[in-house]
């Protein structure tokens, strides 16, 4: 089985993660209930004729995908894999609202065509003229992880030499307000809801600055009590013990289910730095892709931004990172990274 390395990681998010060198020193706290991404000038990356039909998520996905390939010096990947929780919700809302407003007549094609969940993966492939394997995973908060697992298996089994994989979600305009309403009534997510796209190039080739994607495991359901056992077993399967882990990055979002993260964090000794990120990047179904972007960036730069530190922080050398994410006690994912 071949090892799987992450050659590049690019993210558009609520913070300035796209154009600046990674440090988050100028990160801004999110003050509103909904936080839009910090958008780069898309005209630099996408032809105007294509850009005019693209909704926010497509612009973000195509741009991060393109830059991830450039950073990895790849012109044509062997596969394009995308994860998205809500797909192109902007155009879905437009299309459905048009049906209502026009009493099911006069339906225009653009918003319908662009409303499908696989629009981002398709637009990336169209831009590259890439006819390789192309798949989109839509599995709630495990959408990105499902795409990542597929990508990792393609590399591990030597079916692909380089894979472009990413997670993308856009805020939209209306449906998100109902989501917020439900969360607020159920003591749910407290951090702002947001959007973003993070793409990675995976390869079996070991390069300088490449990060090893050791392992990835997902669970639809786990109880809080099962977390320590599952986490310890995950590390042991990869010949690691808790004291070997330099940092653990959790997806705390302020909801009652943060108690799962407390269980996970308690597994690690005081020497393991404890980090979080959704207070700066918001919550959405593929926010964990930003978690992976941060994990990769921390290992590559050997630096933990102060804004990410949740509890104890003691390590100088950073070799191994664990990421844990879940949403409302469901869709759990564990990712192990190392250099």
């Amino acid at each position: 089985m071949k090892a799987c390395y992450i050659h590049s990681a690019v993210s558009i998010s609520a913070q300035n993660t796209f154009e600046t060198v990674f440090n988050l020193s100028e990160s801004k706290p999110l003050t509103s209930r909904k936080a839009n991404s910090n958008h780069p000038p898309y005209k630099t990356y996408i032809a105007p004729a294509a850009l005019r039909r693209m909704a926010t998520g497509v612009k973000m996905g195509v741009t991060t995908g393109k830059k991830a390939l450039e950073k990895a010096n790849i012109t044509m990947p062997d596969a394009v894999l995308t994860g998205t929780g809500m797909g192109c919700i902007e155009d879905t809302e437009t299309f459905l609202n048009t049906i209502i407003a026009n009493e099911e007549a006069y339906l225009t094609p653009t918003s319908f065509i662009q409303s499908t969940h696989n629009t981002v993966g398709a637009q990336i492939a169209l831009g590259l003229k890439c006819k390789a394997y192309n798949n989109t995973y839509v599995h709630g908060a495990l959408s990105f992880e499902s795409a990542l697992l597929d990508a990792k298996l393609l590399i591990n089994t030597d079916e692909s030499q380089s894979v472009l994989v990413g997670g993308v979600d856009e805020l939209g305009k209306e449906f998100i307000d109902y989501t917020i309403l439900v969360e607020d009534q159920n003591n749910g997510v407290k951090v702002p809801f947001s959007e973003g796209a993070s793409f990675f190039v995976l390869s079996s080739e070991k390069q300088e600055k490449a990060i090893l994607l050791n392992s990835l495991k997902t669970y639809s359901n786990l109880t809080e009590q099962e977390i320590p056992k599952v986490l310890n077993a995950f590390l042991l399967e990869n010949n690691y013990q808790t004291q070997d882990i330099d940092a653990v990055i959790c997806g705390n979002n302020g909801s009652v289910s943060d108690s799962y993260y407390n269980q996970a964090r308690a597994v690690f000794p005081i020497t393991t730095s404890q980090l979080h990120y959704k207070h700066l990047f918001g919550e959405f179904f593929t926010a964990s892709a930003i978690g992976l972007f941060l994990g990769v960036s921390i290992l590559q730069n050997q630096h933990i931004p102060d804004a990410l530190v949740l509890g104890d922080y003691s390590k100088n050398s950073l070799k191994t990172i664990v990421l844990y994410n879940q949403f409302n006690g469901r869709d759990h994912s564990f990712i192990l990274l190392s250099i």
Binding site: P48, R52, A105, Y106, L107, T108, T110, I113
Partner: protein, 85 residues
């Protein structure tokens, strides 16, 4: 007629997200497809829906569309002669 041409230019810019263009950039005789505004087949469908919805004109023959969508001037002339709204 000039009001209709102005209205068509505004609607086309908004409907087709032609952010690069303003009404002043589109001459009455500019080609809408190809080298002019650079519209494509999806835009043609959008324009056909616009004709039906806004002016009560149903196009059934695709070849008819090729003639009508030549330019703003030709389109406005066709609408004036065939509109039911």
């Amino acid at each position: 007629m000039s009001n209709l041409k102005q209205e068509l230019k505004e609607n086309i810019i908004e409907l087709l997200n032609l952010e690069e263009f303003s009404v002043e950039d589109i001459n009455d005789n500019d080609a809408l497809f190809g080298d002019g505004l650079g519209l494509d087949s999806i835009d043609a469908l959008e324009l056909m829906v616009m004709l039906d919805k806004d002016y009560g004109i149903k196009l059934t023959d695709p070849n008819e569309g090729k003639e009508i969508f030549q330019s703003i001037a030709v389109l406005a002339d066709y609408i004036e002669k065939n509109r039911s709204k």
